[in-house]
Subunit: 417 residues, 2 copies
């Protein structure tokens, strides 16, 4: 996000990362660094250890004192990036609150993960002997509970942001990318256009996909089809290859409706001249002419400029969660998770990032801060060099003018404290 | 589908395939064969050559006489399977009409495919010199127009079925699987639980995915979340691992809502005891306790038994279209497309079918009817053998009691007339 507010000091900065010193993942020294091209920064970051109390099954809420007495803990590790827009407030609240939501929700389900007799069978075995036809094999695993935790935590965090922003009369929203290492698996939850990839010795594994007005066109158009009033007669839900003009009326034009992955022809009518609900391509794609992302937190008050049309109904706060099981992979010493906001990925593709990661780590074998130095190096590459008034990449392409935040998280020896 | 009506003769039968004798795809001798276990058969099939007249660009509808004078033709080849339920009528109408819809829609867009200056740019070049910022590169290709044709043709066919069934006071619906070979590419459009795979020399390529209440749970639950009245207070939109009972109230239970791929815990309330919108697993999964598929044609009048709850709002008639470009593959002599209704795939997996295909064709090199014999062979395998009152597979598993229809379509030398 580009910004107003929240000025940050010049030069490199370890951004809001309140819990990083508490991290016991020994060799993990992630850094979040901002390109500092603009005076202001809307990216926010968080990382911390999440301690989960093991609740006794069957305990009611009012028996919380028993929980507090519990001495058993499970530990998770958490990293997150939030790219704010329309001000940094939503990103700040999210960076302070999302890990708390995750911790709470994990404690609610941890019985189902650790107990031998969870509240309802995770094993698929028959639990209703008198009525076996009602019991089905759903293959539900502990992993599915953690995925559910992340989905519910994002939704709760979005609600809190809505209340907080309304109470303090603030506006804005943010994307959210969160990684959770828990019980030998890495969960990556993404709502927005940030990205996380695993750079392994012989492989690059994408852990997220981007949610933009373009990638979610059909969901957005379908909602407008179901609730036409959401467009208030100001937008058309059809997609066209370009904005139509008055003299196109009566001509045949390519179009797509909500149910189409392919294209068709229609004869242009006057209503087709309205601004399209989803318009533009790539980084220029916009929802209602307003937002460049289709998922994220906040934006509860956001309206299309000079109208009463709300954007929030078209936004989703639900992340897509991808899981990586370390038990099924032989993790090597220089294998890392790279998380970054769109400022990095706009100018460097996965392959280029993987190349930088591998060559940097090969050339810097002994530096105890090699992973945070690598994060800096990646930001440097995307930030480019100033030539006159322009920032340029090495290959003379224009550099990223967006905020750039990067985590590089080593995956080897991750359970050593 | 299992059936009432539409009795078919005993033994093997080349089913409704009105246009097969007109096929000029020389070595192509597809057969549709029914298992004949039950007295009645709801599967329907169609295959034909589709001749597309090339319309002059800019011609209006009332200049149709000019089109009729046109002597230029493009040719497509079409195969389709329809698995009826609640009677064969919808499947019969679809088998008579879908290829006509496709032909009509193809003629509407064929200008965009063949003309050097199509109605609006397919090339992505700027067509609006006065306003270049409105022109975007969408990478729209001729292929995307054919995909759009199939999507729109399924929708139109569904409307026609609705009108026809209402006019004749009939009920029922059907799944639809259609393959179209056109301009060097194979398009496979699927709405339902039939399946098509390419069995190539060194590879098996799935060309469809199944649409069932289970695979489309989130879409279906989301609709119920947006329009709760569709459930009329009789169903719960939540998914549970098993049907809940009175004494579960107050207990913790695993559940999923529309936005969840993972699972969470909730405390069972009385409302959770209602029958679930999507219930059951695998072949037992049902939408509103009524239908085993979530996409298809027809079912406009279908209501949940003893209620006024309509099923149609939760159904989609839109196919997912997958494209296979022959130009990018070296097609070998025994490479085939296998299309079949769920009766086959319920008892044979892709790998088993591929094994039967390869060994049968290797052992039958010279038989001019080897492909239709192979289709018969596949049906035989899924149909099993009668032992007492049961039909059994070779490995003593129970055989398919459903109708079984199979097309085996050779892909080599496909353009020879």
């Amino acid at each position: 996000g580009r910004g107003c507010r929240a000025p940050s000091p010049a030069g490199w900065e370890q951004a809001r990362c309140s819990a990083s010193t508490r991290l016991t993942w020994s060799i993990c020294t992630p850094r979040v660094i901002n390109a500092e091209k603009s005076e202001f920064n809307e990216d926010q970051a968080a990382c911390c250890q999440i301690s989960i109390r093991r609740r006794e099954p069957g305990l009611e809420e009012d028996e919380e004192w028993l929980i507090l007495c519990s001495t058993q803990f499970l530990t998770g590790y958490y990293w997150a990036l939030f790219d704010g827009h329309g001000g940094p407030e939503a990103a700040i609240i999210a960076s302070n609150y999302l890990h708390y939501c995750i911790k709470q929700k994990l404690e609610e389900v941890v019985g189902g993960i650790t107990e031998t007799r969870p509240p309802m069978h995770l094993s698929g075995r028959c639990v209703c002997d008198s009525d076996p036809q009602f019991v089905e094999e759903k293959h539900i695993q502990a992993e599915d509970l953690v995925v559910g935790v992340l989905e519910n935590a994002f939704q709760e965090c979005d609600e809190v942001i809505g209340q907080e922003m309304e109470a303090t009369n603030q506006t804005g929203g943010c994307t959210a990318l969160a990684a959770l290492y828990f019980q030998g698996k890495l969960y990556v939850a993404n709502a927005g256009d940030s990205r996380a990839i695993l750079v392994l010795k012989d492989d690059v594994v994408p852990m997220t996909c981007e949610f933009t007005p373009e990638t979610e066109r059909q969901r957005i158009q379908h909602l407008a089809f179901l609730f036409p009033k959401l467009l208030d007669g100001e937008f058309t839900r059809f997609e066209f290859p370009r904005r139509l003009k008055g003299d196109d009326v009566g001509q045949k034009v390519l179009y797509r409706d909500y149910f189409m992955e392919g294209w068709g022809y229609k004869t242009v009518e006057k209503a087709d001249l309205k601004y399209p609900l989803v318009h533009g391509h790539g980084k220029q794609a916009r929802l209602l002419g307003t937002l460049a992302v289709s998922r994220g937190l906040g934006d509860h008050q956001l309206k299309v400029i000079d109208t009463n049309i709300e954007v929030k109904p078209f936004l989703s706060c639900i992340p897509k969660v991808n899981v990586f099981d370390f038990a099924q992979h032989d993790i090597k010493e220089d294998d890392v998770l790279v998380m970054a906001t769109d400022g990095l990925w706009d100018v460097l593709c996965n392959k280029e990032v993987a190349h930088v990661v591998r060559s940097f780590l090969a050339e810097n074998r002994t530096d105890p801060h090699r992973f945070s130095e690598l994060a800096k190096c990646l930001v440097c590459r995307a930030r480019g060099k100033k030539r006159g008034h322009q920032w340029m990449l090495d290959d003379s392409c224009e550099a990223s003018y967006d905020d750039i935040s990067v985590f590089v998280i080593p995956l080897h020896k991750r359970d050593e404290d």
